[in-house]
């Protein structure tokens, strides 16, 4: 391998990228689009659940109970209802997700020390949101009940009953439990995977299709020199995407980067090499731009979106799928990025993932080099 030949190929490949607005656009514009789409549009947080209430009792006590809902940031009042038809209509038209019906004897039952049932109706169409909303409702109602019991006890001059278990939760690393903090680091892995593999999947195939490869393989250029030289410009684009993502995360979406930027860059570089090599390998094997780009999409986009743990937790997948995720390199970078971004962990924790990524990159680039033949078949 001679460095001057790698440089020659890299320089030429840079010129292709610069002269072809499509590849540059794909390398920079699509990552930006993904960052904004996912940053702004996609959130798994459930807050300001729209609420419709039918307060049949309408006393200071019932209004106090309801104010605990409408006063929290988890619920927002859509409208009051005066019958079930209102409620049904509101839920059918998706104007309300949760309905609360307070019976007319609510205050009376409470005052006489009895249970006071309150009806909660939840639109279960979106099961995930429904579960979370129901959890909120239970928490708000529980909190209010305890305060009522406490007040009654104090008024009666009694010592309030101690709670048997007093849960004192504290959320680490993502204290607001904001889903963007969870999604964003993983998104970086997905972007780097998809874009770089897609870009490199075209390069070798294009040269075979246009006939320039025939010329190239008649020179003393060696296979590894061609492959490494071709990777260089796309490596730079990948690094640019990484930088862009980190900046957008920091300044636009306020995702905290608590760990080392250097470690993040270093491990991303290893991942980048493996992602680029996958595209290259596909390009070498298929020798067709159309086939290569489609294969690259299927082989990188789908698995990195669905199986990397970026949005859908791996632990919740059926066991066969869980096993499959081990060959998705994005899976390891997602873990690494979340660790560095949110937990400030170092190589002492992430060495396993780092080792797998290194191995992965080494195997794929070796395969690409072995599969590349300086012959027409």
């Amino acid at each position: 391998m001679k460095i001057h030949r790698i440089r020659a190929v890299a320089r030429k490949e840079f010129l292709h990228v610069i002269r072809d607005p499509r590849s540059l656009g794909m390398g920079i514009a699509i990552p930006l689009l993904l960052l904004f789409l996912f940053g702004y549009a996609l959130t798994l947080d459930v807050d300001r659940v729209s609420l419709i209430v039918w307060d049949q009792d309408n006393t200071p006590t019932s209004r106090d109970f309801l104010s605990r809902f409408t006063g929290s940031r988890y619920f927002s009042l859509h409208a009051p209802a005066t019958n079930y038809r209102d409620i049904e209509h509101a839920i059918d038209t998706r104007n309300a997700l949760v309905a609360i019906v307070i019976p007319h004897d609510f205050t009376g039952r409470l005052d006489s020390g009895r249970d006071a049932p309150v009806q909660v109706l939840v639109d279960g169409t979106d099961s995930n949101t429904a579960t979370i909303a129901l959890g909120y409702a239970e928490a708000v109602a529980g909190e209010w009940s305890r305060s009522v019991v406490l007040k009654q006890a104090l008024r009666g001059g009694e010592r309030p009953l101690p709670q048997l278990v007093d849960l004192r939760p504290r959320i680490w690393y993502n204290s607001d439990m904001a889903s963007k903090n969870y999604i964003f680091p993983g998104l970086i892995a997905v972007i780097m995977m998809v874009i770089t593999a897609l870009l490199t999947s075209l390069t070798v195939a294009r040269e075979w299709e246009t006939g320039t490869m025939e010329q190239l393989i008649s020179t003393p250029l060696q296979g590894p020199e061609i492959i490494i030289g071709k990777l260089v410009p796309y490596f730079v684009i990948g690094l640019l995407d990484l930088l862009l993502s980190v900046l957008v995360g920091r300044f636009l979406f306020d995702v905290p980067l608590r760990g080392s930027l250097w470690l993040l860059t270093g491990l991303s570089v290893i991942f980048l090499i493996s992602a680029l090599s996958i595209g290259m390998l596909i390009s070498i094997v298929t020798k067709s731009q159309l086939l290569a780009s489609q294969l690259a999409l299927v082989a990188t986009m789908l698995p990195s979106f669905l199986l990397s743990g970026f949005m859908f937790p791996i632990e919740n997948m059926p066991p066969p799928l869980q096993v499959m995720t081990h060959i998705i390199s994005a899976r390891y970078l997602v873990i690494i990025l979340r660790g560095i971004y949110l937990k400030d962990v170092g190589l002492d924790v992430l060495y396993g993932e780092a080792a797998v990524l290194t191995l992965f990159g080494g195997v794929v680039i070796t395969l690409a080099i072995l599969k590349f033949r300086k012959k027409i078949t």
């Binding site: 001057h4 320089r11 010129l15 008649s218 027409i376």
Partner: protein, 310 residues
């Protein structure tokens, strides 16, 4: 050059999924020679030149270029040669200068040497005014000259050109051949394929290939002597109609058309000539001239081909 032959080919063959593209071809080319491999489309020219340039492995036989085996020492061969493929093999999105620079970089040509050489190559291919033009925006002839300039950036021992003048206008073709003859003075061995038979006379030696088989291989002059028959050149007012008529009536002779001239290859010129005159008269085609001529290479080719196919 130490090897006695610039190119040596022994029983070379190539099969693609049962189809024989090149069949048991043997020949050799001396250093400093301009050798032309001539044949119709699909004759096996491109396959042969690819195997010699070591970018395709043969399925039978051996070939050596500058004494090196094209399969076992393929990468060494590639250091000594330049190959210009039939399709334009340069980058249309790079400028003339960038394309040449790329090839100069591959061969590791130093800065000072590079400038002199590029200036010289551009000057003799008349591309100097187009340095900054994108290669894709050049005309067909200029593209070929740029390809040649890139191929010559490292002074190869053997230059392989696969149909370099295909689809190029006649003036550019003449220019191209002039450049090739200049190269010969620098001691480069040139192996060129072409489907244009008139280009064969510009070669030192010529191989005639058809359906993968080498039919004849000699100097153009000796190939002419291969012709056992004589050639009658006929010019009529309606050459197409005349050719159709003669092909129908004269079954023993081969008839070919070169522009307006009809060549009839015959072993018995006198009786054939009077037969032709009467045939044309009967059909009302007026005969403008008929004379015996020296066979050109196309006649040789047609005659060798028809013998082979008989």
């Amino acid at each position: 050059m130490t090897a006695p032959h610039a190119i040596r080919v022994e029983n070379l063959g190539k099969q693609f999924a049962g189809v024989t593209a090149v069949d048991d071809v043997s020949f050799s080319v001396a250093p400093g020679e301009l050798f032309g491999l001539i044949g119709p489309d699909g004759a096996g020219k491109t396959t042969t030149v690819r195997m010699l340039a070591s970018i395709m492995d043969p399925t039978a036989g051996d070939a050596w270029v500058t004494g090196r085996h094209t399969v076992r020492e393929a990468e060494k061969v590639k250091e000594d040669i330049s190959y210009m493929s039939q399709r334009f093999g340069l980058y249309p999105d790079l400028t003339v200068q960038e394309n040449i620079d790329f090839y100069a970089d591959i061969y590791g040509i130093g800065k000072k040497e590079r400038r002199e050489r590029i200036d010289r190559l551009l000057a003799f291919s008349n591309l100097t005014p187009f340095r900054q033009r994108l290669a894709g925006k050049l005309s067909g002839g200029m593209k070929q000259k740029l390809g040649l300039a890139c191929a010559l950036i490292h002074t190869p021992a053997v230059l392989f050109l696969d149909e370099p003048t295909n689809g190029v206008d006649p003036v550019s073709r003449r220019d191209f051949w002039r450049i090739l003859h200049q190269l010969l003075e620098e001691g480069v061995t040139i192996f060129v394929t072409t489907a244009y038979l008139d280009e064969a006379d510009r070669c030192h030696r010529v191989g005639l290939i058809d359906k993968g088989r080498l039919l004849a291989c000699d100097t153009p002059a000796n190939l002419r002597k291969l012709m056992k028959s004589n050639i009658l050149e006929i010019i009529t007012t309606d050459s197409r109609k005349a050719v159709a008529l003669l092909r129908e009536k004269l079954t023993g002779e081969s008839i070919s058309l070169f522009g307006a001239r009809i060549h009839v290859t015959t072993a018995t010129p006198e009786p054939t000539a009077s037969r032709i005159s009467s045939l044309l008269r009967e059909e009302g085609i007026s005969l403008q001239s008929m004379r015996e001529v020296e066979p050109n290479l196309e006649d040789v080719f047609v005659s060798v081909l028809s013998e082979e196919r008989r």
